[in-house]
Symmetry: C2
């Protein structure tokens, strides 16, 4: 590293230390001790993105929090956790979150809309006309429309994936065809301004992909390092291709009602896809 | 698969479908439609664990939610999200959680205690005598004492890692020596009943490790499949060994104050480790 580069990094690190999480969440843990010194960073490391991440009853918390870790790192961005109202929202695993913004107060023009998945809660959300109308409205105008897991079924219910390649949780991926999308078996799928992730843990990969798009590769690599994202799954069971047959049967059987209900709901909303 | 095995799986999947998240969180998203049929499962798939997961201001949400996804899957277990009081707790990325239990109401005899990490918030927690005393008390008696990321510094501050091998976020790992522990560079480290994970995303690996210990391998593999945990990091920057030097310098520089403060706090609590 040359001296200039090293001096830049030292100044940047010092500025970051004053305020390690630089996206402005509406209700930060504590205000930064002092405004960070923006001049320490390359201009393109700053943004002014308006980001809305959707919360709804029964969503999967891990779908949401992987991307949130990454998006909250975007200097200058404003990340909102948006729900129907400001009432606390409980996830499918019983974790309760306090939203920062109600849908009615969500900016009309978003830079990025993010939707997490879930099971029965996601199916209920697909059937919720107000929620689907909100997604259709904000998604139609957002610069980036993104999801993890069965969040893509919600995007599909809102008509936002018609004509796009997209992915979802392995249990639900084929259902995307009912929303006029082309299902793709991949960890993260980008088609124009739609970026969809596979099931649950794929949110970390999706988040890093977005950070690189909105900032640059070094920024995203730094976030991967901060998350110590060098995964070592203790088994090789993360996809139906590699998992024991018993596990596939057990997990598929758990969601037959969800799959049937989602298919019916998407058909009803799209007249057959 | 033989017919008996298939029948078991079909019955088990049907029972699971009635209540996909089977740990009893104190405030579930919605009560299960009907009690699941316990007779569909092998006896050792049920537990009665009392699990306490700690929330404190400025913790890292992803440290918490990876393990929470896995622990919430443990049939029969009771998972509590414990904080000083029932007031909402905001993470370092501005995500606000509602606890299910205040420390004073936490069972004295826990099967599993889990502590997430963070930055400044974790340092503040290490300096919080009431929180450290709570951890020392519950940790001394718990069957399993676990952490992710700099959560192990908090365990160390409470005297729970003295004489144990343990790990932490790469930024903080060497500090464990100040608490009388032997730092180990590994994703998940188990020494007797202490199980510690590396930084942030290691919580998923830790969670699966715990599910196998408390249930069995098929159970854990099923959860890996449900989480679609077949990671594909877009870069190879997850550890200081593989990340670009610039990223390592930037992220290390961000935490010099945290490291110095943590070292001072651990020395004060342990008289030099």
């Amino acid at each position: 590293m040359d001296t200039d580069r090293r001096q830049f990094l030292q100044a940047a690190a010092a500025a970051l230390a004053a305020s390690p999480w630089l996206a402005q969440a509406a209700e930060p843990a504590a205000p930064a001790a002092e405004p960070h010194d923006m001049s320490a960073f390359p201009a393109h490391w700053h943004g002014q993105e308006q980001i809305a991440m959707l919360l709804y009853p029964g969503f999967t918390a891990l779908d949401f929090v992987g991307p949130q870790y990454m998006l909250a790192s975007l200097m200058g961005a404003k990340v909102q956790h948006v729900a129907a109202t400001l009432d606390p929202v409980t996830s499918d695993t019983g974790l309760t979150f306090v939203p920062t913004l109600a849908m009615k107060d969500c900016p009309a023009e978003l830079d990025l809309l993010f939707v997490p998945g879930g099971g029965q809660g996601t199916l209920d959300a697909m059937r919720d006309d107000a929620l689907v109308a909100f997604l259709a409205d904000r998604g139609r105008r957002a610069k980036w429309v993104t999801s993890v897991c069965t969040g893509s079924l919600l995007l599909g219910a809102a008509g936002l994936l018609k004509g796009y390649r997209a992915t979802s949780h392995w249990i639900a991926r084929d259902l995307l065809a009912e929303a006029g999308a082309t299902p793709v078996d991949a960890r993260v799928v980008r088609d124009r301004n739609r970026i969809t992730g596979a099931g649950v843990s794929a949110g970390i990969d999706l988040g890093l992909t977005i950070v690189e798009l909105l900032r640059d590769r070094l920024y995203a690599q730094s976030m991967q390092l901060l998350a110590e994202y060098a995964p070592e799954p203790p088994f090789n069971a993360g996809t139906p291709r590699t998992a024991p047959k018993e596990a596939v049967e057990l997990m598929s059987g758990m969601f037959t009602g969800f799959v049937a209900g989602s298919r019916e709901t998407l058909r009803r909303r799209h007249g057959g896809g």
